[in-house]
Symmetry: C2
Subunit: 147 residues, 2 copies
Amino acid sequence: MAPVTELTVGQVAMRSGVAVSALHFYEARGLIRSHRTSGNQRRYGRDVLRRVAIIKVAQEVGISLAEIGEALASLPEGRTPTRDDWNLLSTAWRDGLDHKIAQLKKLRDGLTDCIGCGCMSIDKCPLRNKGDRLAREGTGARRLVAG
Amino acid sequence: MAPVTELTVGQVAMRSGVAVSALHFYEARGLIRSHRTSGNQRRYGRDVLRRVAIIKVAQEVGISLAEIGEALASLPEGRTPTRDDWNLLSTAWRDGLDHKIAQLKKLRDGLTDCIGCGCMSIDKCPLRNKGDRLAREGTGARRLVAG
DNA sequence: CTACAAGCTCAACTTAACTTGAGGTCAAGC
DNA sequence: GCTTGACCTCAAGTTAAGTTGAGCTTGTAG
């Protein structure tokens, strides 16, 4: 085990905490890359751990894989993201997070008001008519809070 | 049109702002009820408007239909939810919202820290090891932030 | 009384993010 | 040298929350 540089899927899975199937999935989605051994098995560079970590953090923050993919696409391929790369991403995502927090607060405050009013008149309820609802466009399933 | 008490699906859809198909769906899920005319068409009592309004608010707050269903199940069937009923629900949901906001803040603050650190050591990153991640249990698809 | 809008049911499709399973290969221990 | 565990691919299943469409019935306005 001289070259510690290369990792198998199983190793990445163990170290990153995501399932092997998820890693396959991320790769199919273009979020991570690998090269193959002569026996067609995946081998990952160490940068994959950083990338997977970023993916997980972003997901917890409510960012979709599609968005994460776009962001990661802007990073240099096959290289461990640098401090600057990460700064760019995290700053952008932090802004999104701030926005989400603000929206949730608005909703919470609306609920607080409603607790007193009993919402006897639905048409006047601030929650029902705030005109600034969470993004819910498009067809099909929609994310719940993230958006 | 003497008895204004009964509403058709179309009317409920128009007044509530949700699609007819969604109303069918909610009914199949047990979130709302209707009785049928001799011609097998749905007729709704006025309480359905209140219920649908509650459903929509709850959804915007990030509560799943399943959870909403449980909450609504605790309300008296076929009656317009009273002020007290609403208070119970909105208070509980507001607490949930507070919790979510707190979690998001934690994440945001974690990100803020990372912006400085560049997350050069993933194992020490506060985001990667906070041991208090958003709920992500079970198999299959998972909600992103709501939980 | 006959269109035509509105309803009804039921099945299939949608998106996101994976998981599960089937069927086959590769590598390392005994 | 063969068995066992890790891999591989590809297809299909899962959940949430509905939407879309087909095929058929109702109800209402002219």
